[in-house]
């Protein structure tokens, strides 16, 4: 364990372990609750693998009713609950505590209803992001949000973190594509919020549940908006001698009134790593690479790309190359989506996720370069340029004493920089435990108090994912009140 502080396990809960597990088994079915440390091993961490902790037990329910029964047991014993989708959180959103029950939704993986006329799909929340699109693809539809982990990540996690992806410039993020959820409250009550229609009846509870990091309840079903696939899409690659020039080009494309579906940026180190890994045909002698994708019919694509070329030419790109086939397009995207894997082959890395106003891009890139020198660590940048969502990958050596601490300190400095220039700590990964203690840099006490009041309304005892999102001392009195109440 590194520097992240986690709450001391509730001794009251730990001492009743056997009783709690028996009650869970009675409520959920014996096979759906696991507590053998060998079996719970896989649930000790998520994709933020530097932190792990064996939970008290893991429940893998097969229905919404079973989730409700499990939550009733947990709330009656005052046991913390950590909801888990596929465990792909990069922010430690699904990290257990020693006194918690992990509730995983992986067995809730069925499509419940599809309506192409009304353009929605109702799914159980354990379905993976990509399998939702797979379910409607035959009819030419797709589900728009496309986080890089879409092959593995669950809709439950997408809703919890309000996941984004590469194409949100045009299609928005999860919250803009989510129509309704079935939420099980900590008391085990099943409630329907929203549905296959527009706008909420009263307060937009759906809007605040999305992105609440599993702290308001367990989402077991989701109604998602599906869209007809565009007729075609084609990316263009543009290489520049300087990151500033690439940034200026992005701004000018937007000002020209073109709205590409995606604008991805990679800097020198990222280009080289991705090219070596995926052989995508990226030019490796440029300082910055833009992948800009547009959609439509062949002639619409030609028209938009011509406009983009015209704007880009003003910035003297070293390379400007349109994809000429579906195969080439796939390769170009494969290279970008493989960025994290490619980096993983070179070194250990931490992936940051801040967002900045795109006007601040040149300054932020320059400042990050200076900080990399100060820390003596390399940083590679991939990011969603159209929306300012940065993913600096800080490379370090986990076997070298002190390197990870240094990396975390560098990461925190980058995120503080994002906030200083008017941006935020996390654009799409979520706060989790990773950025919990940085919240004070973005929010005042009053800002956080307002947020915590919403959690109070959903989960008054603060049992759901309790040590995440807010700094430990900020949430201390609320979590403490819970413990004394349960005891």
């Amino acid at each position: 364990m590194h520097r992240i502080e986690m709450p001391t396990p509730d001794p009251q809960v730990l001492s009743r372990r056997a009783e709690i597990i028996a009650a869970l088994r009675a409520a959920a079915g014996t096979g759906d609750v696991i507590s053998d440390p060998a079996e719970t091993l896989a649930y000790e961490c998520d994709a933020l693998t530097a932190y792990r902790c064996p939970p008290l037990a893991v429940a893998l329910p097969r229905s919404t009713q079973e989730v409700a029964a499990i939550l009733k047991v947990c709330s009656s014993f005052g046991v913390p609950v950590v909801p888990r989708g596929s465990g792909t959180s990069l922010a430690g959103g699904a990290l257990p505590t020693a006194d918690c029950v992990v509730i995983g939704v992986s067995r809730l993986n069925r499509v419940l209803e599809v309506d192409y006329g009304d353009r929605f799909i109702r799914v159980q929340s354990g379905m993976t992001n990509l399998s939702v699109t797979a379910a409607v693809e035959a009819e030419g539809f797709f589900y728009a949000p496309d986080p890089s982990s879409q092959l593995a990540c669950a809709i439950a996690g997408n809703v919890a973190m309000n996941s984004g992806g590469a194409h949100c410039l045009k299609y928005g993020v999860t919250t803009n594509n989510l129509l309704g959820v079935t939420l099980v409250t900590i008391e085990g009550e099943i409630i329907e919020i929203g549905g296959p229609f527009c706008d909420p009846a009263g307060y937009d509870l759906l809007g605040v549940i999305c992105g609440s990091e599993g702290q308001f309840g367990i989402v077991t079903e989701a109604v998602l908006r599906i869209l007809k696939k565009p007729e075609g899409a084609r990316p263009i690659l543009m290489g520049f001698d300087a990151s500033e020039t690439a940034g200026a080009c992005v701004a000018d494309i937007i000002k020209a009134g073109v709205l590409p579906v995606a604008m991805e940026f990679m800097d020198g180190p990222a280009i080289v790593a991705c090219e070596n890994f995926a052989h995508a045909g990226y030019p490796t002698d440029v300082e910055a690479l833009l992948i800009v994708e547009v959609e439509g019919s062949p002639q619409e694509i030609d028209d938009q790309l011509a406009r983009i070329r015209q704007v880009a030419t003003r910035h003297s790109p070293r390379v400007m190359r349109e994809s000429e086939s579906a195969l080439q397009s796939d390769l170009i995207w494969k290279g970008r989506k493989a960025a994290f894997g490619a980096m993983g082959q070179i070194a250990d890395y931490m992936c940051m996720d801040g967002t900045i106003p795109i006007s601040q891009l040149p300054f932020v890139l320059r400042r990050m370069g200076e900080m990399a020198k100060e820390y003596g660590l390399a940083v590679a940048n991939v990011f969603h340029a159209g929306d300012g969502n940065l993913h600096p990958l800080i490379l370090f050596d986990a076997n070298k004493p002190g390197d990870q601490d240094k990396c975390e300190a560098f990461g925190s400095d980058i995120l503080r920089l994002c906030v200083e220039v008017g941006g935020c700590l996390t654009g799409e990964h979520g706060v989790g435990i990773e950025k919990r203690d940085l919240m004070v840099h973005q929010f005042t006490a009053d800002d956080m108090e307002a947020q915590m009041r919403v959690k109070d309304a959903f989960d008054p005892a603060w049992l759901l994912n309790p040590a995440k999102v807010f700094p430990m001392e900020t949430s201390h009195s609320r979590r403490h009140a819970n413990r004394s109440r349960a005891a």
Partner: protein, 399 residues
């Protein structure tokens, strides 16, 4: 009535804190054009946002704009137009519909969650809003979201504030993501379709890959005169191409007319956005949200029981109803019908008597009502913000 007109956010916060200490119920007023929306408010003082105006941030290349809550929408649209951009959610102007005067403000549009026809493709008011500042019921200034369009830092209170009608806090500033203003636009019109055929045609258009961003069905002024309208916006090459594809796609529904005349085209969508068809007519007005495919049968069922006219927007997912101003304006029947198919109905316009008798918003399930009440009690502990506007009184429950 006592009136507060703060000049800035800090002064507003002080006034709210003072009102909270006195438990003085406040009517929050932006431009005053939507004051009759919601349940009647029992206020003893008015809080005017007219002093909080002005654009605070505009970065065309970042597609973001921010403005103080009392800023007229027209001022924001003008600034955006100068840079070839616009608000994606096409905020409606309800002055004619509600018979109100004043100037619609951005804070009012967000507080009421008002989105126009483009909502089906470009998202609603809450989708466009990416940051807010507000003053809560204790007088604390709260900031949430920010000025970047991808932001998952902490809970999304921006969404919660949109459509809360000021009952959770007084909005002081809102930041939006915006879109390039399209180079051109065009509208396809089918004539004389009945409701069911019309919604089927709109569904076919919306389930096409042609980025339809307006899909409405307007009732008949005279028999057989109904118009079913489909809008496409974008670069000229695109619009021309898509319109031809849509013409072919919708040919089975009847003769297709395509209008690119700006005046006609703008007129159609302004009329849809502002529900102009009901503006000049007597009657109570309802706004229903439901599954598009279920809307025509639901409306036909209601029509068998009461006189009504219907305007369909959002491909049929939004239905405006005009009904006689009698008793509770059909509240029970309309609410039962819409909740049976999974949706909700809001009473937008009615006489004071009807508004006292029928709750403006669809009654919530006890579990959701408890959460909503829990949030409201925590954001406005003294109960001073537009008290009663979003709550269902116990004597209205039966309605």
């Amino acid at each position: 009535m006592e009136t507060f007109a703060p000049a800035d956010e800090a002064e507003l916060a002080t006034m709210v804190a003072g009102a909270a200490r006195r438990a003085l119920p406040l009517r929050i007023r932006g431009g005053g054009t939507r004051l009759s929306v919601g349940n009647p408010v029992a206020a003893k003082a008015e809080l005017r946002l007219s002093g909080l105006t002005g654009i605070t941030l505009y970065e065309p290349a970042a597609l973001t704009i921010g403005a103080r809550a009392g800023t007229p929408i027209a001022e924001i649209e003008a600034a955006l137009a100068a840079e070839g951009q616009h608000l994606p959610f096409e905020p409606a102007d309800w002055r004619r519909l509600l018979g109100s005067e004043g100037e619609p403000t951005i804070g009012g549009a967000i507080a009421c969650g008002v989105s126009g026809p483009r909502r089906i493709q470009a998202g609603s008011a809450r989708d466009a809003a990416i940051g807010v500042r507000f003053v809560d019921g204790t007088g604390a200034i709260v900031r949430n979201g920010g000025r970047v369009m991808k932001n998952v830092t902490g809970y999304d209170l921006v969404k919660l504030m949109c459509g809360a009608h000021g009952t959770l806090g007084v909005l002081t500033e809102i930041v939006f993501k915006i879109l390039p203003r399209p180079e051109t636009a065009s509208t396809l019109v089918l004539h004389g379709l009945d409701d069911a055929r019309a919604i089927a045609a709109l569904s076919a258009a919306l389930a096409s890959p042609f980025d339809v961003n307006g899909a409405a069905h307007l009732p008949e002024d005279r028999p057989g005169q109904a118009r079913t309208c489909v809008r496409v916006e974008g670069f000229e090459t695109s619009v021309r191409y898509r319109m031809e594809r849509l013409r072919a796609l919708l040919a089975p529904f009847g003769e297709v007319e395509i209008t690119s005349d700006e005046q006609t085209h703008r007129g159609i969508w302004r009329s849809v956005r502002d529900v102009e068809a009901f503006g000049a007519r007597e009657g109570a007005v309802w706004k229903m949200s439901l599954r598009p495919s279920l809307a025509p049968a639901l409306v036909a069922g209601l029509r068998a029981e009461m006189d009504l006219d219907a305007v369909y927007d959002w491909g049929g997912g939004l239905v405006w109803l005009l009904v006689p101003q009698a008793a509770e304006a059909g509240a029970s029947r309309i609410r039962n019908a819409v909740s049976a198919v999974g949706g909700h109905a809001t009473l937008i316009r009615a006489t004071p008597e009807i508004r006292r008798a029928a709750p403006a918003f669809q009654p919530e399930s006890p579990a959701i009502a408890a959460i909503s009440q829990g949030i409201r009690a925590r954001f406005d502990p003294a109960g001073i913000f537009n008290p009663g506007l979003m709550t269902v009184r116990s004597d209205q429950q039966a309605a």
